[in-house]
């Protein structure tokens, strides 16, 4: 056995971590190697010193401060949990409210087309099929909210859905629906007058743009 290997084994042996067979081989080496015997003694001394010095000096005041802090953190944790729970409930309530408002808004936008009792409530006007303002989408039934033109609700009575779906307006119905758009420019409004009962494709409604001073 070489001394280098013997010293690694000695480090294990000093703590009783060496298997029996290796221990015997090490003992044989130590019998013939004086330097490794000295190394072994130093190692044993170091481990004994380390163990003797292993008790920290901690005062009762330190322990008491530690326990106090633990209780303080437990209590503040409880408070934080309850307040965060309260905050969570608030956030949930706000989210619920927002969802309700959004769904009401969407419902209101769809209602002129889908509600069978459209005449019973204020109608949301539809955008014109070919508005003069290029920023207003002509593909969809409603203008994009991102765009400047924004439909304004006007309280006019509309015929029932079945009547509106007819391609041709009933004879003698001369009521006119006023559709008003606001644009990005607050001084410019687009007003459309559409005969009731007319489908978008059946006739081009008359429109005018006016400037508001």
């Amino acid at each position: 056995m070489r001394c280098e290997e013997a010293r690694k084994l000695l480090a294990l042996e000093s703590g009783g971590d060496l298997p029996g067979a290796r221990d015997r081989a090490l003992a044989s080496h130590l019998e013939v190697c004086r330097r490794c015997r000295a190394f072994s003694e130093e190692l044993a001394l170091a481990v004994a010193w380390m163990r003797s010095a292993a008790e920290p000096v901690i005062s009762e005041a330190d322990y008491a401060a530690m326990r106090r802090e633990v209780w303080r953190r437990i209590e503040s944790g409880r408070g934080a949990r309850s307040s965060s729970f309260g905050a969570g409930r608030l956030v949930l309530a706000a989210a619920g409210l927002l969802a309700a408002v959004l769904s009401l808004f969407l419902l209101a936008r769809k209602s002129p087309q889908e509600s069978p009792v459209a005449s019973a409530r204020p109608a949301v006007v539809e955008p014109p099929p070919a508005p003069p303002n290029p920023t207003v989408s002509s593909a969809g039934p409603a203008p994009s909210p991102a765009h400047a033109a924004e439909p304004v609700r006007v309280a006019v009575s509309r015929p029932p859905r079945s009547a509106r779906r007819r391609p041709v307006a009933p004879a003698g119905d001369s009521a006119v629906e006023r559709i008003e758009f606001r644009t990005a420019n607050p001084n410019v409004r687009i007003i459309w007058l559409v005969r009731k009962g007319e489908e978008k494709s059946s006739s081009m409604p008359a429109g005018r743009t006016e400037e508001v001073s």
């Binding site: 010293r7 690694k8 480090a11 294990l12 000093s14 703590g15 971590d17 190394f39 130093e42 190692l43 001394l45 170091a46 481990v47 010193w49 380390m50 163990r51 003797s52 010095a53 292993a54 008790e55 920290p56 000096v57 901690i58 005062s59 005041a61 330190d62 322990y63 401060a65 530690m66 326990r67 802090e69 633990v70 209780w71 953190r73 437990i74 944790g77």
Partner: protein, 209 residues
């Protein structure tokens, strides 16, 4: 050696070595644990009193500073408080506490590596030394901390748990999540470094205290 170690051995013995089965469940600690689990704050406080010396001592040996040891001990008991409900009756509370302490200290060492602390103030004893014996004890303790600080963290943890806390290599390996052979290698390397530290100390100073 800490008195926590026999408790750990007892925990292992319940699976067939020394102590009779179920001993842990009837010990005073087990009774405190049971009461604390039921929400008895006094029992939890008493549990801290009964185990604080072991927890803070181990944390101090692993971390090397009193401040860090105190912070780590607080964190240990907070985790105990939070997870006491998960602790199964009849399980070895000391082994569980030991595991939490080692984990908290490892987290602390990782944090320290990420955010190295500002240069520390000189080590001060927790109470003013009143007698020569106290002075010697404080000096010995500071030297030990110095020696342990010269070790890589993994070797330090293995050495502290094996030689200062008296766990077996297998128990240390379980606690550190390593193989026993790896842990034995780390312990051997650490002992050699401690021996070198002592030899240098004897060369530089008069003798080991």
């Amino acid at each position: 050696m800490s008195s926590l170690a026999p408790a750990l051995l007892t925990g292992e013995a319940r699976t067939g070595r020394e102590a009779p089965p179920g001993e842990g469940a009837t010990s005073p600690i087990a009774a405190l644990v049971e009461r604390a689990r039921e929400g008895d704050g006094r029992a939890f406080d008493r549990l801290m009193v009964e185990t604080q010396e072991r927890v803070m001592g181990l944390a101090w040996r692993l971390l090397g500073s009193r401040e860090e040891a105190r912070d780590a001990s607080q964190e240990v008991y907070l985790r105990v408080f939070r997870h006491l409900g998960r602790f199964r009756a009849g399980e070895d509370f000391h082994a569980w506490l030991y595991r939490i302490t080692v984990n908290v200290c490892r987290d602390s060492i990782r944090r320290r590596r990420r955010n190295p602390p500002a240069p520390a103030f000189p080590v001060e004893p927790s109470r003013p030394p009143e007698a020569e014996e106290d002075l010697l004890g404080a000096e010995r303790w500071n030297l030990l901390l110095e020696a342990l600080a010269s070790l890589p963290p993994k070797e330090r943890a293995a050495l502290v748990l094996r030689d200062l806390e008296g766990l077996t290599s297998e128990q240390v390996a379980r606690l550190l999540g390593s193989r026993a052979a790896t842990v034995r290698g780390q312990i051997a390397s650490a002992r050699l470094r401690i021996r070198n530290f002592c030899v240098a100390l004897i060369g530089g100073r008069e003798a080991l205290p």
